[in-house]
């Protein structure tokens, strides 16, 4: 089944028209999205660096992860809230952009990975975890989220 009708429906929404009609709406949504991205990325990076065995090594992994968790969750919530109107208001552009699909598929995989495997590993006792798994999970997390960010930026640049 094609998603094309769904994207046509999104672009036709009154909200999409409203956003396109004012010159300030899009930039305001974009800058909030970017500030939330910085907070979210910081909360991801501080834990991924710790998973690699660097950074805040004087503290247990689980405590570093627990401290970062609220900023990760709220960062993601704001990213989603400000992301949805950006998709709907330019739905057809997104639909035909390969980078949009790259970003969205990456986002689904990265989000599931972060809230299942990565969460489990960060909360496991480090002695039981061993020296390898933390590093693997940290590297996968950095790669996935960097991929999402790169795909996102390229929607506006190359499509």
């Amino acid at each position: 089944m094609s998603l094309l009708p769904f994207f046509q429906w999104m672009e036709a929404l009154p909200m999409s028209h409203a956003i396109q009609s004012g010159s300030w709406y899009s930039p305001i949504i974009q800058v909030i999205h970017l500030v939330a991205l910085a907070v979210f990325a910081g909360a991801i990076a501080i834990v991924d660096i710790r998973l690699l065995g660097r950074g805040l090594t004087t503290r247990p992994l689980a405590e570093v992860a627990r401290d970062a968790q609220p900023w990760l969750v709220w960062g993601l919530v704001v990213l989603l809230i400000t992301g949805i109107p950006q998709v709907t208001s330019l739905a057809m552009k997104q639909y035909y952009s390969p980078f949009f699909w790259w970003k969205m598929e990456g986002l689904v995989v990265a989000t599931i990975f972060t809230f299942t495997l990565r969460k489990k590993v960060t909360l496991t006792d480090e002695a039981r975890l061993g020296p390898v798994w933390g590093k693997v999970v940290g590297l996968v997390s950095i790669t996935l989220w960097t991929g999402v960010t790169v795909g996102a930026r390229l929607i506006g640049l190359l499509s």
């Binding site: 010159s23 930039p27 990076a45 805040l56 970062a68 960097t146 640049l157």
Partner: protein, 175 residues
């Protein structure tokens, strides 16, 4: 020699022209700039939240400063070099840009805020290192830094919206 002459001289450099005319130069630089921002501004924000007494409270402030520092330096190196190349590749796009100059002023203020904090409140860090709520000077520095970096990200994005600027700026007729 005026600033405009300098920017024009850079624009006529063959290396500047080749960045400007390359198809993937600008997208590559801008995308790297955003990824670098995630690392740099993200880790700065985590440190500032600790100083402001808002987050990462289990970590001593000095640990936050020292252990994240190499990563922040890597981030700032990447941000600064890609940012410099973006301007070098198309200087006249930035010369008359309101948000570009505002962003530079804010960067300067963020740097001053950091230096002032390090030579004042931070000298007594041993006393309050583990306090969940650091002294007023540290909280103010942390909140200032958070606000400044948010404003730097905002003005950076707004460079693309060169039409959405105050009237008095347009009347300067810089472009």
């Amino acid at each position: 020699m005026s600033l405009r002459t300098v920017f024009e001289a850079i624009a006529s450099q063959p290396s500047s022209v080749s960045i400007r005319e390359s198809i993937y130069g600008y997208p590559t630089l801008l995308t790297s700039h955003v990824v670098a921002m995630c690392l740099f501004a993200g880790l700065i924000a985590m440190m500032d939240l600790r100083l402001a007494g808002l987050g990462n409270l289990g970590t001593p402030c000095s640990e936050m400063q020292k252990r994240l520092f190499p990563w922040q330096m890597f981030g700032v190196f990447l941000s600064f070099s890609t940012g410099l190349l973006l301007v070098y590749g198309d200087p006249m796009r930035f010369y008359g840009n309101f948000y570009f100059w505002l962003k530079n002023i804010l960067l300067l203020l963020a740097f001053v805020n950091m230096v002032v904090f390090h030579v004042t409140t931070y000298t007594s860090v041993a006393v309050w290192d583990r306090d969940p709520v650091p002294p007023l000077g540290a909280r103010v520095a942390g909140l200032f830094s958070l606000a400044l970096w948010a404003a730097i990200i905002i003005t950076g994005r707004m460079i693309a919206y060169s039409g959405l600027v105050p009237n008095w700026w347009v009347e300067l007729k810089l472009t």
